[in-house]
Symmetry: C2
Subunit: 696 residues, 2 copies
Amino acid sequence: MDFDVVFFEAVSIIVSILAFGAAFWLYKWVVSQPSSNKRIAEIGKLIRNGANTFLAKEFRTLSRFCAVAAILILIFLPSPIWNGNPGENILMVVSYLFGTVISGIAGKIGISIATIANVKSAEASAKGIKPSFMAGFRGGAVMGMAVVGASLLGVTLVFFITNNATVLLGFSFGASSMALFAKAGGGIFTKTADISADLVGKVELGIPEDDPRNPAVIADNVGDNVGDVAGMGADLFDSNVASMVAALVMATAIDRANGGSVNAGMVFCYAAIGLLASIIGVLSARMRENGSPTKALNTNTYVTMVIFGVFTALATFAFQFQWRIWLASVIGLLVGVIVGIATDYFTDDTKKPVQNVAIASESGPAFTILSGFSYGLISSLPSMIGIGISALAAYRICDPLGEGYAMFGISMTAVGMLSVVGMIISNDAYGPIVDNARGLVEMGNLGEKALETTDSLDSAGNTVKAVTKGFSIGAAGLTVIALLGAFISEANDAAAVIGKELITGFDILNPTVFFGLLFGAAIPPVFSAMLIFGVDRNAQRMVSEIHRQFREIAGLKEGKKGVVPEYDKCIEIATTGALKELVPAGLITIIATLLVGFIGGVQAVGGFITGNIVSGLIFALFMSNAGGLWDNAKKYVEAGHNGGKNSETHKATIVGDTVGDPFKDTAGPSINTQITVVSLVASLTVNIFLTFNLFG
Amino acid sequence: MDFDVVFFEAVSIIVSILAFGAAFWLYKWVVSQPSSNKRIAEIGKLIRNGANTFLAKEFRTLSRFCAVAAILILIFLPSPIWNGNPGENILMVVSYLFGTVISGIAGKIGISIATIANVKSAEASAKGIKPSFMAGFRGGAVMGMAVVGASLLGVTLVFFITNNATVLLGFSFGASSMALFAKAGGGIFTKTADISADLVGKVELGIPEDDPRNPAVIADNVGDNVGDVAGMGADLFDSNVASMVAALVMATAIDRANGGSVNAGMVFCYAAIGLLASIIGVLSARMRENGSPTKALNTNTYVTMVIFGVFTALATFAFQFQWRIWLASVIGLLVGVIVGIATDYFTDDTKKPVQNVAIASESGPAFTILSGFSYGLISSLPSMIGIGISALAAYRICDPLGEGYAMFGISMTAVGMLSVVGMIISNDAYGPIVDNARGLVEMGNLGEKALETTDSLDSAGNTVKAVTKGFSIGAAGLTVIALLGAFISEANDAAAVIGKELITGFDILNPTVFFGLLFGAAIPPVFSAMLIFGVDRNAQRMVSEIHRQFREIAGLKEGKKGVVPEYDKCIEIATTGALKELVPAGLITIIATLLVGFIGGVQAVGGFITGNIVSGLIFALFMSNAGGLWDNAKKYVEAGHNGGKNSETHKATIVGDTVGDPFKDTAGPSINTQITVVSLVASLTVNIFLTFNLFG
C-alpha cells in the first residue's frame, strides 16, 4: 500500500483526539472518586489556589518574554521582513505563539487534575493501597495523555497547514521557550519551598515533614505541582515536539529529493502508534490488591514498549516503510531501557552506590558529598556511551538507504525512545500527586496506616522516576543530535538562497568550530550554577519569612488550636523569586548563541551546539543521578540503616539531600531544555548570521 | 642572520646547564642557612624519610608499569616490530624510558631540597619574614630550575640525536605517564593525610593543626612534599615537554615541506629564552624588609614575562623568525595572565565569591557546598573563552604564513604561556615548603611570632597558587589542541605508508567522531571520581588507624611527655593506599583510548581526544577553583568573619574545605595530565588502529 502523508496526518489527528478522549474519561473517573474530609478539602484548596496563582504569574511573565520574542521573530525570521515575504514571517510568529500556548494549556490541565487527584489519592489511602494508587496514577495519566495528544496534534496541524519545516521549527521553539521557563521557574519554586521547609521545620525545630504549623508547607506542596507536574510536562512536551520536528525536517528533505512523502508519513505513523500504545498502556494499567506500585508502573511501561515495537513492525510491513528505520527506532527504545537501568543502579537503595554513600556519611557530611558526587560523575558514563552507540548504530543502519537517511535514522531513534513518552509523563506526574497525598494525609491526620500507604506509593514514584529520567535525558541527547542535522539543513537552504558555499560539516580542526565547542561546553555549567544560585537566594528569603512568622505569630510554634501560619506569604516569595531568578539564566543561553553566531558564523555555532550537547548531557546526567542518589541515601538511613533517624549519619545525609535537591529538580532537568533551545535558536537565526558575522 | 637548528639546540643545552648551575647555587645557599633547633631537625628528618619512603615505593610501582609499557612499545611502536625497523622500536623505548627517568630525577631533586628548605624556613621565621621567605622561595626555585632545565635538556638531546618527531612523542609519553601517576598518587597521598589529620585532630578532638600528638601529622607534612612538590613538578615537567614536542612536531613538518630548519630552531630559541628569563627572575627575586610575600612572588612572575617578551622580540628580529608567531606566543602569555586573574577573582578572600560562600555557610554546610559548587562552575567560563579565543587568534594570525603554520601558531601560544614555567614551579613549590615550615614551627614550639610569620607566608602561597594554576590549566588546554594537530600529522604519516586516504579533519557530523566525542567527554568525570574515591577510601583506613593509636597508646591524647605516636604507620597507610588507588584510574584512561581506537579508528579517536579536552578543561577549572574557594572561605571565617572560629559557620566551611581538598589537590590538577596522556597514547598508536579497527 502506498499512502500520502495526509493519510498519516489524519491518523495522527484521530489518535490525538482519542488521547484527549482518554484524558477526559480519566479526568471524570478521578473527579468521581469519593472525598469527604473537610480538613483535606480545605488544604487541597490552598494548594490548588497556590499552584494557580503561580501559574498565572508565570504565564504573565512569560507572555512578556514571548511578546518580545514574537516581535523579533516577526521582524527577522525566517528572513528579515524587508528582504523576504512578510507572510512567511507572520506564519512563523503564529506558529511560535501556537507552540507556547498549546504547551501552556497542557501544563494548566496537568495542574488542574493533579490538584484534584492529590486529594482523592489521600482520602483513598485510608481504604487501601490499590484505590490510592489508581487515583494517583490516573491523575498523572490525564497529564500524560493531554501533553502527548497536544504535542502530536500541534505538530500535525502546523505541518498540515504550512507544509513547511522551518515554520515547524518556530512551533518547536515556542514549546522550548515555554519549557525553559516553566521547568526552570517551577524548579526554582519547588526547591525553594522544599529546602526552606526542611531547613526550619526538620533541622531547626525538629517538627515532622508536612507539619501544618510550618508556614512553608503549602508552598512545598504547591512546588511539587508547579515543578514536577507543570514544569516536567512542559519539558517533555518540548522534547516530544523537538524529536518529531527534527525527524520531519530530515524526512521532508529526503522526500523533496526523492519525490513522494513516505518518510514524513512514517514519522506521523510512528508518533501516532507511540501515542496509541501509551493510551492502551494507561487505560489497561491495573494494580493487584496489595501489589507493588513500582511493579505496576514498570509493567505498564514495558507493555507500552512491546505494543509500540509490534505495531510499528506491522505498519512498516503494511505501508512498505524502510525496515532499517524501524530498526533504528527500536534501538532507541532498547537504549532507553539500558540508560534507565544504569540510572536505576546508581539511585536504587538496594544497590551498592546508595548504601556506600550511607556508609561514607558515618564520617560526616563532607564524605556524603564526596562519595555521592563521585558516583554521580561515574553514572554519566554508561548513558553517554549508550547515546553515542545508538546514534552511531542508527547512522550506520540507515546510511545505505541514501543521502540524508543517516541523520533521519538518528532522529527516528529519538522518536522511538520518546514513543512511550505518554507513559513516562503519566508515571512522572504520579510522583508529585502521591507526594502531595502524603502531605495531605499528614496534615489531615488520617492516621498511621494511611501514612504508610502513601509513603510506599511515594517511594515507588521515586524509583520509577529514575528510569523515566534516563529516558528523557537520552531522548533529549538524540533529539539534539538530530537537530544539529536540522541546523545544517536550514543553513544550507539559506546558503543556497544567497549563493554562499554549502556547509558539508563542522571540522573540529577549524579553530572557529573549536572556539564554539569550548564556549558551548561552558554554558550548561554556568546555566546550572545560575539556577542553583536562584534557589539558594530564594530559599534564604523564605527562611527569613518563616523565622518571622514563628517569631511574630503567637502560639504557632506550640501548635495552639486555631492558629494558622500565613501560607500565602511563602507562596508569594517562592513565586516572585522564581520568576525573578529564571529570566537571566534563560536569556544568557539565547544571547550566548546569538553572540557566537554573530562573531563566528555558522561554523562557530556548529561547534557551540556540539559543545553544549556534550557537556549538557554530562551535567544533566550527573546532577539528576547524584541528586536522586542523595535523596535515597537519606531515606535509606531513615529506614534504620547506619544509625537511623536523628543520628549524625542521618544529619550528614540531610546535607547531601539538600545539595541534591536543586541538582535533581532544578538544574539537572532544565539542562535538557537549555540544549534544545540553543539548537532551535541556532536553526532559526542561521540565515541572519550567515550574512552578518564578524569572522565567519 | 640565518642559523641552523643545531645552533639553537646548542643554546638550549647551554641555558639548561645554566639552569642547573643556578639550581646548584640556590641549593648551596639554602643548605648554608643556619639551623640549630634539635626538635625541628628531628621532625624534619621524619618528614624527609617519609617522603623518600613514598618516593621509593612509588618509583618501584611505576617501574613495573613502565616495564610493561616499554615491552609493548618495543613490540608495537612506532610500528609492529615484525613489519618495520626494529632499530626504531628500540630508539622509541629508550626515548620513553629516558622521559620517565629524567622526570623522576627532577622530582627527587625537588623533594630533597624541599625537605631541607622547610626546616631552614621554619627556623628563619623566628628572625623575621624576609629570611624565612627567601629560604622558602629559593628552595622552591631549585625545583623550578631543575624541572625546566631537565625538560629542555631532555627534549633537545632526544631531538638532536634522533631528529625524529615521533621518537619525541615517546619521550613526552614517558614524562606523561610519570606525571599521571606522580600527580595522582601524590595527590591521593597528600589528601588522605590532610583530611584524616583534620577529621580526627581538629573536628573530633579539637587539637590544633600540626599538633605533634596527632599520628597523621607527619604524614600530612610528607603529603605536601610528595603531592605538591614532586607531583606538581612532574605535572609541569610533562606540560612543558608536551608543549615543546607539539610545537616541534608541527615545526618539523613545515620545515620538511619548505626546507631549512628555521621553525624548529625558533621553538628551541623561544624555550631557551623562557628558561633564561626564569633564571633571571628567580635569581633577582628579593623581598623588602617586612614586605608582602604575595607581591614579591607576583612581581617576579611579571618581570619574567616582560623579559621573555622583549628577548623573544629581539631574537625574532635578529634571527628573522616570523613576527606573527612571536605575536601568537605573546598572546599566550597575555591570555595566561587573564585566566590567572579570573581564577584569582573566584578564590581571593577580598572578592565577592569567597565572602558570599562564607555568608551562605551561615545557613549550614549544604549552602557552603551549593554556593561554592556554583561559583566553581561559573569560574570555568572566562578561562574556556580565553583558551578558545587565544587558539582562534593564533590560528588566524599564523594561517597566512602558509600550510601548517596555523597549528604551529597554536602550539607556540602554549609555548609562550609556559615560558614562565620555571617561575611558576618555583612559586608553586614555595607553597608546600612554607606550609611545612608552619608545621615545624608549631611542632617545634617556636612561638607565636614565628607562627604568624609562617602563616602569612603560607597564605601568600595559596593566593599565588591560584594564578599559577590558571596558567598551567590554560597551557595544558592549548598544548592538547596542538597535540591534536600532532595526532593528525602522525596519522597521515602512517596513512601515507600504507596507502590509505589522508585525514583532513574530524567532522562532528560523522557519527563515529560524535561517538568518540561523547565517550571522550565522559572520561575526565570518571577519572576524577575514581581519584576522589581513592582519597575517600584511603582516608577511612587512616582514620581507623589514628583512632587505634589514640585508644591503644597510653598518655598520647593527654600529651604526656615522651609519648610519641607511631607516625610511620600513617605514612605506610597513605603510601600503600595511594599506590593501590592510582593504578586503575590511570589504566582506564589509556585502555579507553585504545578501545575507542580499535573500535572506531582514527575518526573516533579524533572525537575522543576533543571530547576529552573539552570536558577535561571544564572539570579541571571547576574543581581547582571550587576547591581553592572553599579553602579560602574557611580561612576567611577563621580570620573572624561571619561568626569566626568554632562557630557553626566555621564548621560548615570545614565541610566545604574537606570536599574541596581532593577537588583542588587530587582530581583537578590530575585531569591536566590525563588529557595529555590520552593525546599522546593516541598519537603513538595511531598507525596500529589505522590498520586494525572494527568500524573505522
